[in-house]
């Protein structure tokens, strides 16, 4: 029981600064982003055509305190806006890995997991 609590505490303390995705995964995400998202959000993720930016102040303020799992689920359920629900969960996770990379969060050694309970514990926060 104590072991499980410790594990939970360890998981809960993770943030986007902890190397939660791999470079390769961000690369896959960039390819998917360019074909599925860039049309509206722009090649440099600055937003456009009434779509919000996915980098820098506006994006980070909006997501501060929320989880990577939230972002994956929002993407999966609502994007692309003209035909939502057609991106696979894996594609969404790869795309989010690319967003993390584009926003300057460090890559780690392994891919971001598909485990929703883990993703829900990875939190956007300012640089520690």
């Amino acid at each position: 029981m104590r072991w499980m609590l410790l594990l939970f505490a360890a998981a809960a303390s993770r943030s986007v600064w902890d190397g939660v995705y791999s470079k390769e995964q961000a690369g896959r995400g960039q390819t998917a982003y360019n074909s599925k998202c860039a049309r509206c959000h722009g090649e440099a993720l600055l937003g456009g055509e009434d779509s919000p930016p996915l980098v820098d102040k506006d994006f980070l303020e909006k997501w501060n305190g929320k989880s990577v799992g939230n972002l994956v689920e929002l993407t999966r359920k609502t994007m692309p806006a003209d035909g939502p629900g057609k991106l696979s969960r894996k594609e969404c996770i790869d795309i989010v890995a690319y967003l993390l990379s584009a926003n300057g969060f460090p890559a780690g050694s392994g891919d971001m997991t598909a485990d929703a309970s883990v993703l829900d514990e990875i939190v956007f926060q300012p640089k520690p």
Partner: protein, 665 residues
């Protein structure tokens, strides 16, 4: 058999028989806009006020399995020639031929373009162009998502080997750029064929927050319909020595791009002219890197179809900072003004003006005045001191926000609206975008906002009565700029929030941010309601002989999400109008409209299933019919085997696109 006979007779007719401005002839629909003049008018009268209530669905054609994923927002209008409908379908923009009486698929053409198709700059598709030599040669012209021009045999759907390279012409060449990358340029609207020349424009990446001031120019080009050879190029951004080059200061003509024509084009076969509604240059809301008037951006340009030579032009916005480029096909209209017959062209604009010209000479039918406009305070910007204001017809929707425009359903809502308004800079038309938080304001509140009062659905013109019907929305939004991070963009300033800069102070407990499964443009008024008074969507009837407005009707009632808002209990919203542009078709007997798609930047609750037959003279609703989903394209009509049909594209989030054919059983 009768239908086959009709087909062969029609194939024998010369294209000259089709007047540009007299509507779709012979019960057919040979152009995206009905005729080359984009009137969206048909002289058919079988469906009329006395029997329209009997309209039923005759057949449905499902686009779900065309393209790698279902299309929901199908902006198509089919062509009908000789009993066959021709249209584009699906997210790969396949070309399809369908039996017009039964909906049976006759052929389909699919081009897998790989990465250039996947990265297409525009996924929408509005349709095709048709051409025949009047004998045995009839062709369908398709612009692919990856920007190639394909000529297909209209009978078989097979590419014409003698056209271009095995039926395909590369469109990314000849644009004065060494490299054109996939996803930089494409088109969502069809080409038009005038005097055996295929004329086409281009759509480019949206310019709200571009990565660079450097982009590909969207030149207008003409191609031989028989061989695919490029005959001419009209540089919408002129080079030195060409007219207008001096309106691009500091050599900005060298690098600036966009300035295409993303809306459908019109033409006059008799005059041999094409009419081009030109887009704005790169950078929707900041022009610090392109000082000057920027000709031929935001201009209606008349070109000789055979040579591409400029006949006349008129710039509707100088040095555009509002994304108010020309959104819809110019409408060719023969009108009588003060007893004088005029071959006119009417250009509907996003900023809710209609510019009317003699289409032979380019002279304004009514005076257009250059008036002083507010000037930008954004560093590096240089606003045009004046903008053109047509003196007639009056604007078809509201322009600029004042305190009197705010919703006042209850004193509390009104008080909240006043507080919200105080967060923004407000002013008259052409209030320039402002840097976010400058002068303690969130930005500049613009009405209409940058997708306009009107947009691509435009309007419809009745050549028998001279009436022009226009659909528009009333929805302000904030134009706020932020400094572009030089690591990401060399623009200097880009739009905050992609040009959707408005913020409602109390969204929670108000309107849903999401319309079904997908995101919509949020309202910025109190408790998530619209900020300004209804109607939020309308249709205006304008007599183009006099320039007078004849009637205005709301586009149906308010969206359910507004009607059911707790703060509006007991308020009559039956004439508030759905916040979407009604796609319009006019026939000898009726005007047809619909709730619209609600899929492109529309407010919460926009769109709906209702299709309407409207009295042309009074605007009275004669009949309402619920379709399987929202109307996403402009309806068209035709006659086959003595039966009149109306065909319209439908779809909604979660409901894949289909064509619905209506007829009286």
């Amino acid at each position: 058999m009768k239908r086959l006979l009709t087909t062969s007779i029609l194939l024998g007719l010369s294209t000259v028989l089709m007047d540009a401005q007299n509507g779709a002839a012979k019960g057919e629909w040979r152009f995206y806009g009905g005729d080359a003049g984009s009137t969206k008018y048909s002289p058919l009268d079988q469906i009329n006020a006395s029997n329209v209530k009997k309209l039923e669905i005759a057949w449905r054609w499902k686009a779900e399995n065309f393209g790698p994923r279902p299309d929901y927002n199908w902006e198509v209008t089919p062509l009908m020639v000789g009993g066959v409908l021709y249209f584009t379908a699906g997210s790969r923009r396949d070309a399809v031929a369908v039996d017009a009486a039964t909906g049976e698929t006759l052929w389909m053409y699919r081009l897998d373009e790989g990465e250039r198709g996947d990265r297409a700059v525009r996924t929408q598709n509005r349709g095709l162009a048709y051409w025949t030599d009047g004998k045995s040669d009839s062709r369908i012209l398709l612009i692919s998502p990856g920007f190639q021009l394909i000529a297909l045999d209209a009978r078989t759907g097979r590419p014409i080997p003698s056209f271009g390279k095995n039926g395909v012409v590369e469109l990314t060449e000849g644009l004065d750029r060494d490299v054109v990358k996939p996803g930089q340029i494409g088109s969502s609207s069809p080409a038009i064929v005038i005097r055996d020349v295929v004329v086409l424009g281009a759509a480019l990446q949206a310019g709200s927050a571009p990565i660079s001031k450097t982009n590909v120019p969207g030149y207008i080009r003409g191609f031989d319909v028989r061989t695919g050879k490029r005959i001419w190029t009209f540089r919408t951004i002129p080079h030195p020595g060409e007219m207008g080059n001096e309106t691009w200061e500091k050599n900005s003509w060298e690098y600036t791009g966009n300035t295409g024509a993303w809306a459908p084009l019109s033409g006059d076969e008799e005059l041999g002219y094409v009419y081009i509604p030109v887009e704005m240059p790169t950078g929707d809301f900041y022009g610090g890197a392109r000082w000057g008037d920027n000709l031929f951006a935001d201009s209606l340009v008349c070109l000789d179809a055979k040579t591409g030579k400029r006949i006349w032009h008129f710039q509707t916005v100088h040095h555009d900072l509002w994304d108010w480029d020309l959104p819809t096909a110019p409408i060719l209209a023969d009108i009588t003004v003060d007893g004088k017959r005029i071959k006119a062209v009417a250009q509907i604009t996003k900023q809710c003006f209609i510019f009317v010209f003699d289409r032979v000479t380019g002279r304004p039918v009514w005076p257009i005045e250059e008036r002083p406009v507010p000037q930008s305070k954004v560093p590096g910007e240089r606003t045009s001191p004046t903008q053109p204001f047509p003196t007639r017809p009056a604007p078809f929707d509201r322009q600029g926000v004042t305190i009197d425009d705010l919703i006042d359903f209850t004193p509390q809502l009104r008080a909240e609206a006043v507080k919200i308004l105080a967060q923004y800079q407000i002013g008259p038309m052409y209030l320039p975008p402002a840097v976010r938080d400058a002068d303690g304001k969130l930005g500049a509140l613009n009405l209409p906002h940058h997708t306009g009062g009107a947009n691509w659905p435009g309007g419809a013109f009745d050549p028998e009565t001279g009436m022009l019907y226009v659909s528009s929305i009333t929805n302000p939004d904030n134009l706020a700029l932020v400094v572009a991070d030089p690591k990401r963009s060399d623009m200097g300033y880009i739009a905050a929030q992609g040009g959707r800069g408005g913020q409602s102070p109390a969204p929670q407990g108000g309107m849903p941010r999401f319309n079904g499964e997908g995101q919509t443009r949020p309202n910025i008024g109190p408790q998530g309601l619209p900020l300004v008074k209804p109607p939020w969507g309308r249709i205006t009837a304008i007599d183009l002989n006099s320039g007078e407005h004849v009637w205005v009707i709301p586009n149906g009632d308010a969206p359910d999400a507004v009607k059911n808002h707790p703060a509006l209990k007991g308020v009559d919203l039956s004439k508030a109008g759905k916040p979407e542009r009604s796609p319009l078709l006019v026939t000898k007997t009726l005007l047809f409209g619909a709730d619209g798609s609600g899929l492109f930047n529309a407010g919460p609750g926009a769109g709906g299933k209702i299709f309407r037959a409207i009295d042309k003279k009074t605007g009275a609703i004669i009949h309402e019919l619920a379709l399987p989903a929202s109307t996403t394209g402009v309806p068209m009509t035709f006659m086959i085997d003595d039966k009149q049909y109306i065909v319209v594209a439908t779809g909604a989030r979660g409901t894949p696109a289909e064509l619905v054919a209506l007829a009286i059983p």
